[in-house]
C-alpha cells in the first residue's frame, strides 16, 4: 500500500532530511517526491510504499505527526486511495 505524506509549514533547513529519516527508520520506501515553496510556505508531498514497514502503520503515522509537532509543521500520512478516489473517475 502507498501513502501520501504531506508536509506544510514554514520553510527551514533540513525538513526533507528529517522526514526522510523517519521513512528510513520505519523502512518506508520513498517512491516519489514533489515540493515547492510558495512565498514563505513550504509544501512537500511524498509518496511512500509501506508494504515492508518494520513497525505498525500507527507508529509510522505517529512518528511523522510527532516530527511535525516538534518542528512546527503540519505533517499528515494518508492512504493514496483517498486522493485517487476523490480526484480520478
Amino acid at each position: 500500500m502507498k501513502t501520501v505524506v504531506s508536509v506544510i509549514g514554514k520553510d527551514a533547513v533540513g525538513i526533507i532530511a528529517d522526514v526522510s529519516a523517519v521513512c528510513n527508520e520505519c523502512n518506508a520506501n520513498i517512491v516519489d517526491i514533489t515540493q515547492s515553496v510558495l512565498q514563505d510556505m513550504f509544501v512537500m508531498v511524498m509518496l511512500t510504499e509501506i508494504k515492508d514497514l518494520n513497525c505498525s502503520f500507527t507508529d509510522y503515522s505517529n512518528k511523522m505527526k510527532k516530527l511535525g509537532e516538534d518542528r512546527g509543521l503540519d505533517i499528515r500520512v494518508m492512504h493514496e486511495d483517498v486522493f485517487n478516489s476523490m480526484h480520478r473517475i
Binding site: 501513502t3 501520501v4 504531506s6 506544510i8 516519489d32 514533489t34 515547492s36 509544501v43 508531498v45 509518496l47 502503520f57 500507527t58 503515522s61 503540519d74 499528515r76 500520512v77 494518508m78 492512504h79 493514496e80 486511495d81 483517498v82 486522493f83 485517487n84 478516489s85 476523490m86 480526484h87
Partner: protein, 452 residues
C-alpha cells in the same frame, strides 16, 4: 503521481472546511433473535449485535487513521423492536436495556431501531412499544427511537399521530431535568426509509440483508468554501460548483464504506448523500444559503435556495457512488447548525418557514425547541402537517421537536455535543387544533396523478 493541487485541496477540505464522514452505520437484522421466552430473545439480540459489531469501532478508527479522514460516529441500526416484541413478548423496556448493554459493549455512539412502523395501523407489539418510548429514552443514553406514522401508499395514521403528540410531550416531561434530551432521540416519520444511517431515525428495514454497512457523509463547510470562490456567478454556475463538490465528498464516503465493508466482511449498503451540519463554525447548511446571497437563512428566497442546493447535492453525489440511499439531501436541524441557531435567535427563521423548507430538502422539522406549554394536540398537529407534506410529495419527512418543559419562547436549550443548542421557537398557540386531532382515524392515501 497525484497532482499537488489536488492533494492540497483534499487536505484543506479536511483541516479547514470540516470535511468528515459523519457516520458508519452497521444495519443488523434481529428477526432471527425472536424466541418464545423474551429473556432468551434479549440474550440472542445482545449476542448477535456484539458478535457482528464487536469490531465496528476499531475498524472505523483504523480507517480514520490510515486514510486521514475523521469518522465522527460509529453506529448500529436494528430491526424495529416492535416486530421482535410482537413475536417474543415481554416488557418492551427489557429490549431497550439490552440494546443499551450492546451499545456499551461495542462502544458505538448510538443504536437506532427502538421503532415501530404504524403507517396504516397498530399490530401486536406496536402500541406497547410506542407507550414505552418515554421511559426507554429516559432510562437509556445511547438508544434512538423512531415511529413511522404515514406513507404515500398508506396515507396517515391519525390515531398514531394523536398518540405521538402525547408521547413526545411525555418524553420531554420525563427527561426535563436533562434539557428534555429524550425528545432529541425520538423522531416521527412519514415515508421512513429502511437504510438510513443517520440518527435518530435509523432502523434496519425488513427488506435489508442480515447485516450491512451504510455510510453517511457530511461537508456543508466544503460546499460553502467552494461557493465563496464564486461571488458573482449566476445560479446555474452555483449549482455546477455544488455538484462538483458533492461528487468529491461522496467519493470519500464511497471509499470509506467499501473499505469498512471489506474489513468487516459485511456487504456494503449505501452512501447517504447528505449535508449534515454541526454546531461548529464553518459547518452550517444555513451559511451555504447565505453564501448564495440571502442576508439571513429563513427570509423569503430560502426555500428556492435550499431546493437548488438539495438537488445539486444529489446530482453530484449520485455519480460518485455505486449505491445511493438513505435520506440523501441537505439536513436542516435547527439546534445543530450555527447559522440556523443565529437565524432562529434573531427571529428571521420561523417554524412556518422551516415547514416550507422541508418540502424541498432532505427530511423535516428537525431539532426544534418549542415552548414547554405546547399541548400534545399541537405537537400532533405539527406532526400531521409535516407528514402531509411527505405523503403528498412522495418524500420522507420527519418531526423531531423538543418541548422545553418549564421554559418559554426566547429561552434556550443546550444539549451539548453534536446535538447543539438553540432558542425555543414560537409556536402558534392562539387557537387549538384539538377537535381535528381528536377525530383520529386515517387520512386516505393521496392521488398520484393530477399533480397540481
Amino acid at each position: 503521481m497525484i497532482n499537488l493541487n489536488d492533494i492540497m485541496e483534499t487536505i484543506n477540505m479536511i483541516s479547514e472546511e470540516n470535511l468528515d464522514i459523519r457516520t458508519i452505520t452497521m444495519g443488523i437484522s434481529l428477526l432471527d433473535c425472536c424466541d418464545s421466552d423474551p429473556e432468551i430473545a434479549c440474550e440472542k439480540i445482545y449476542n448477535k449485535i456484539t458478535r457482528l459489531a464487536g469490531n465496528l469501532v476499531k475498524v472505523g478508527e483504523d480507517i480514520e487513521r490510515e486514510f486521514g479522514i475523521p469518522i465522527i460516529n460509529k453506529r448500529i441500526s436494528v430491526t424495529p423492536i416492535s416486530m421482535i416484541l410482537a413475536s417474543s413478548g415481554g416488557d418492551p423496556l427489557m429490549y431497550a436495556k439490552t440494546l443499551q448493554r450492546a451499545a456499551d459493549a461495542t462502544g458505538v455512539n448510538f443504536i437506532g431501531g427502538y421503532s415501530a412502523l404504524v403507517h396504516k395501523g397498530f399490530s401486536a407489539g406496536d402500541e406497547a412499544l410506542i407507550r414505552s418510548i418515554p421511559r426507554a429514552l429516559s432510562e437509556t443514553t445511547n438508544i434512538c427511537s423512531s415511529v413511522n406514522i404515514g406513507s404515500t401508499k398508506a396515507g396517515i395514521n391519525m390515531d398514531a399521530v394523536k398518540l405521538m403528540g402525547e408521547i413526545v410531550r411525555e418524553t420531554a416531561e420525563i427527561t426535563k431535568d436533562r434539557e428534555c434530551i429524550g425528545c432529541a432521540k425520538l423522531v416521527v416519520f412519514c415515508n421512513a426509509v429502511e437504510d438510513n444511517p443517520f440518527m435518530a431515525g435509523a432502523f434496519h428495514g425488513v427488506g435489508e440483508p442480515d447485516c450491512v454497512i451504510h455510510v453517511g457523509v457530511s461537508g456543508p463547510g466544503v460546499v460553502q468554501a467552494a461557493l465563496k470562490k464564486c461571488p458573482n456567478g449566476d445560479l446555474g454556475e452555483l449549482a455546477e460548483i455544488i455538484k462538483r463538490t458533492a461528487f468529491k465528498i461522496t467519493r470519500m464516503g464511497q471509499l470509506v464504506g467499501s473499505e469498512a465493508s471489506k474489513r468487516l466482511g459485511v456487504p456494503f449498503g449505501i452512501v447517504d448523500l447528505s449535508l449534515a451540519p454541526t454546531p461548529a463554525v464553518g459547518d452550517s447548511v444555513a451559511h451555504i444559503l447565505e453564501e448564495m446571497g440571502l442576508e439571513r437563512c429563513g427570509i423569503h428566497g430560502t426555500t428556492a435556495a435550499l431546493a437548488l442546493l438539495n438537488d445539486a447535492v444529489k446530482k453530484g453525489g449520485v455519480m460518485a457512488s455505486s449505491y445511493v440511499g438513505g435520506l440523501s439531501g441537505a439536513f436542516i436541524p435547527v439546534t445543530e447548525d450555527a447559522g440556523m441557531i443565529d437565524a432562529a435567535r434573531s427571529g428571521d427563521l420561523r417554524l412556518e418557514k422551516l415547514e416550507a423548507m422541508t418540502a424541498v430538502c432532505s427530511v423535516g422539522l428537525d431539532m426544534i425547541a418549542i415552548p414547554g406549554e405546547t399541548p400534545a394536540e399541537v405537537i400532533s398537529a405539527i406532526i400531521a402537517d409535516e407528514a402531509a407534506i411527505g405523503m403528498v410529495n412522495s418524500k420522507t419527512t420527519a418531526v423531531r421537536v423538543i418541548p422545553a418543559i418549564g421554559k418559554k419562547q426566547g429561552e434556550e436549550l443546550d444539549f451539548g455535543g453534536l446535538l447543539g443548542s438553540g432558542p425555543i421557537m414560537q409556536v402558534n398557540l392562539n387557537k387549538s387544533p384539538k377537535k381535528f386531532i381528536d377525530r383520529a382515524g386515517r387520512i386516505p392515501a393521496p392521488l398520484q396523478s393530477l399533480k397540481n
